[in-house]
Amino acid sequence: MDVNAKNQSAGKCEYALEAIGITKRYGNDVLANDNVDFHLRKGEVHALLGENGAGKSTLVKTLYGLVSPDSGKILVKGREVELKNSAVAIENGIGMVHQELMLIPYMSVAENVTLGREITKTGGRLDIKKAEAEIREISNSYGFNIDPSVPVYKLPIGVQQRVEIIKLLYRHADVLILDEPTALLTPQESDLLFKVIENLKKQGNSIVFITHKLKEVYQIADRMTVMRGGKMITTTTPAETDQAKLAELMVGKSVEHMEKKKRKIGSKVILDVKNVSIKGKENRKALEDVSFEIKEGEILGVAGIEGNGQTQLAQAIIGLTHVNQGEIRLNGEQIENKKTRHIRDKKVGSIPDDRQRLGLILPFKIHENLALNSFDKAPYAKGHFWQRWDVIKENAEKLVKDFDIRTTSVNKQAGMLSGGNQQKVVVGRELSTPLNLLIASQPTRGVDFASAGSIQTKIVEAAESGTAVLLISSDLDELMAVSDRIMVLLRGRNVGTVEGSEATKEQLGQMMLGVSEDSGYQPATLVK
């Protein structure tokens, strides 16, 4: 019945979803969306592009009923609707897969999918068998190959993402909004996702695809819309616009690519990690017998699918995760299981992987956040009893300039900044003093490429001045562009290190998945 309804409305209107004249202002001065028009044709993959703070998030949140616009209207299949909240959006066939997946790890796929729309037998008892059957049917018709009875935590992140998509299909959504879906995926998983998207398209669904990665646009998009500074710049097709032109449209000026320079690597070992093991959940080891060293001025990249021990490694080095075995030496001094303050005093900086939860205090002002790691030391403090706010602000002004943090004032709350600028605050703070060691976890995740470029440049500059850098990233392009060597972590083990100049995406991807080269490429669809 639903299919019929879909087809009928398809005949009436060319567009699955339209936004007309959307304007949204946050507070008094942030114009997030300025009279934005967006048209999603039925059965197309439409890429939505723009830097951080360009207004993409606001637009899709408006389309998904999470933000109510100040003016403008939304049409679903030609019919004007008021999307009061996401429930109404779903009723209208609009679904969204968020960047951070919203699944409950210990519940099965079927339970996750049906949550909120449970199938019940008489007496309100759950009919999980029927649910599983229905989900299997959806899964098979789209070629997803998912077993609905498996608990979600056992699935790789790429498959979890498909579970999110099934969640929407189960609720009869035919407009799917995917918010940076490839941010967390390996190249192989991304390819699989693109196949899934092709399938979805074939069966008449319309897809909005948000991304920073220009290459992907050319792989799958039928059309693309570029946003900049809250305005819709243009809607075009991949055939009409080449990558350079597209990048220019997004940034508003021509973009220079960072050239990889050969840096001088010193002979002195700064960080020496020996046979480190860390206990994880359920008696599994988060890290097992990991050893490596980083020399002065060297950038060691760490590749791996999220959750293979990267976080624990970074946290252990700055003393926030207990090391069960092995030792970590900084300039020869043992630092494992020491206090964070003690380790940071040895000139160690750390960019945590979750800027909003771990990197910043969002309600605090920008200048307060910029001083968060050194507020109690000179020149920011005069003894124990006086905070030098004037000095803090002065320095903040300087950092805002140096790191190109776009804000009208350092007195603004950090939470008011766009994601890229928030990240620049974290990076600026950590790099505001000379360092022996910098731990950078996902420093450019969810950051537009202009900001990402400037953050990468800052990290490379730090290395040039002699800082040893541990760069943990799920962006292989970034790792290959910046790192001297790349270490791959799989299930907490160091499964190999490759020279940055020799690494290829395919090789890294296979190491990350644990697929050996001679056995050929096997997609990691299901871990049972």
Binding site: T340, R357, G359, L360, L362, N373, D376, F385, Q387
Partner: protein, 360 residues
């Protein structure tokens, strides 16, 4: 939320509480306007009335201030009552045994009160260790322990000879917190309270310690990443918070009763939570809200004398204020509601014109 907005919401809550309280008063057969008038006259009608308001406000400002420190540091310290009770007793014991002329005896006693309150707050902190999330349960439990423990100590070690109630003898003259005027309960404690407001504001906003306390209060995870020792700072927060609550007890005992007497606090420790919340956990706001609740307390006594309205009405009013302040969603809902209403009224004409244009 900005301070301005918080202030606005506090004010709205107050008005709403008064309106609903008015309905309740009329439902019980009273006249709300008369009642509120009695409160105002009873509070500000004479110099004596104003002094009475300030006398009641003194302990509330202090406990409110103690709660502000804790809440800013992200600890839900609801152990104010116990800290106050123990602090009061420690101050009185010092006042009984330290033979020093005024003001030295007084200073020693006040310090004893602060230290006892601080220790009482520190005990649960040390016991929960790194598991700070459960600290608030610990502080609750320390309330009844504090009250009973003080009572036990007084009954068995410090009881006034031939006393008919549980009370100590009067403290030495050197330890008494003097009153402004023999006819009033208002004492120099109010000055101490006002000074402490400024000290706490300075501590929170002008010192590195305050910075770290506030940082932990908002985001302990990020603070930890930045190298702040969260446990140490929380312990410091509790020491200051508990100390100030202990000081509140000391001020009551030394300024009003000159001794420790069972039940000297009608729940000042608990009211401190309300005072701090209504003040938007701002140290200066506590001056206002503490005085406001002081007014209600003072009024409840004059009301009991002159009106048919029961004293419990004041407690009900307090409760209403807290409920409204504690639910900011209420106000955002209201704002959205009115916003929608306005939006619907305004463009109604526009839609009509567009309808004629025949776009559909």
């Amino acid at each position: 939320m900005s301070i301005k907005l918080k202030f606005k919401y506090s004010l709205y809550s107050l008005v709403l509480a008064l309106v609903i309280g008015g309905f309740v008063i009329s439902a019980t057969g009273g006249n709300p306007l008369d009642t509120y008038m009695t409160v105002l006259v009873g509070s500000f009608g004479s110099v004596k009335a104003v002094m009475s308001v300030l006398a009641y406000a003194t302990p509330l400002i202090l406990t409110g201030l103690g709660c502000v420190v804790a809440f800013q540091g992200g600890v839900f310290n609801i152990g104010g009552e116990g800290q106050l009770c123990v602090g009061g007793l420690a101050a009185v014991i010092a006042g009984l045994y330290v033979q020093l002329p005024w003001p030295y005896g007084l200073i020693i006693s006040l310090i004893a009160g602060f230290v006892a309150g601080a220790i009482w707050a520190l005990i649960p902190t040390l016991m929960v260790g790194k598991n700070l999330a459960s600290l608030f349960v610990g502080t609750v439990m320390m309330n009844s322990i504090g009250v009973s423990f003080s009572e036990y100590l007084v009954k068995y070690y410090f009881l006034k000879p031939q006393a008919s109630t549980t009370e100590t003898a009067n403290v030495n003259a050197g330890a008494i917190l003097p009153r402004f005027n023999p006819n009033t309960q208002l004492n120099y404690g109010i000055i101490l309270a006002v000074i402490l407001v400024f000290v706490v504001a300075w501590l929170l906003y002008k010192t590195p310690a305050g910075f770290s306390i506030r940082a932990i209060g908002v985001n302990p995870d990020a603070s930890m990443q930045a190298g702040i020792n969260v446990f140490n700072r929380t312990a410091l927060t509790m020491i200051i918070s508990g100390g100030i609550c202990g000081l509140a007890g000391a001020v009551q005992c030394l300024g009003i009763y000159n001794r420790w007497i069972m039940g000297f606090s009608p729940g000042y420790g608990w009211d401190g939570i309300t005072v701090a919340t209504l003040a938007g956990i701002n140290p200066f706001g506590v001056l206002l809200t503490g005085s406001f609740f002081g007014m209600l307390r003072s009024a409840s006594i004059s009301m009991n004398l002159s009106d048919k309205v029961p004293i419990d009405m004041i407690t009900a009013l307090q409760g209403l204020v807290v409920i409204f302040v504690a639910s900011p969603t209420l106000w955002t809902t209201f704002r959205n509601l009115f916003g929608n209403l306005q939006a619907k009224i305004k463009p109604a004409g526009v839609t009509a014109v567009r309808g004629k244009g025949g776009k559909g």
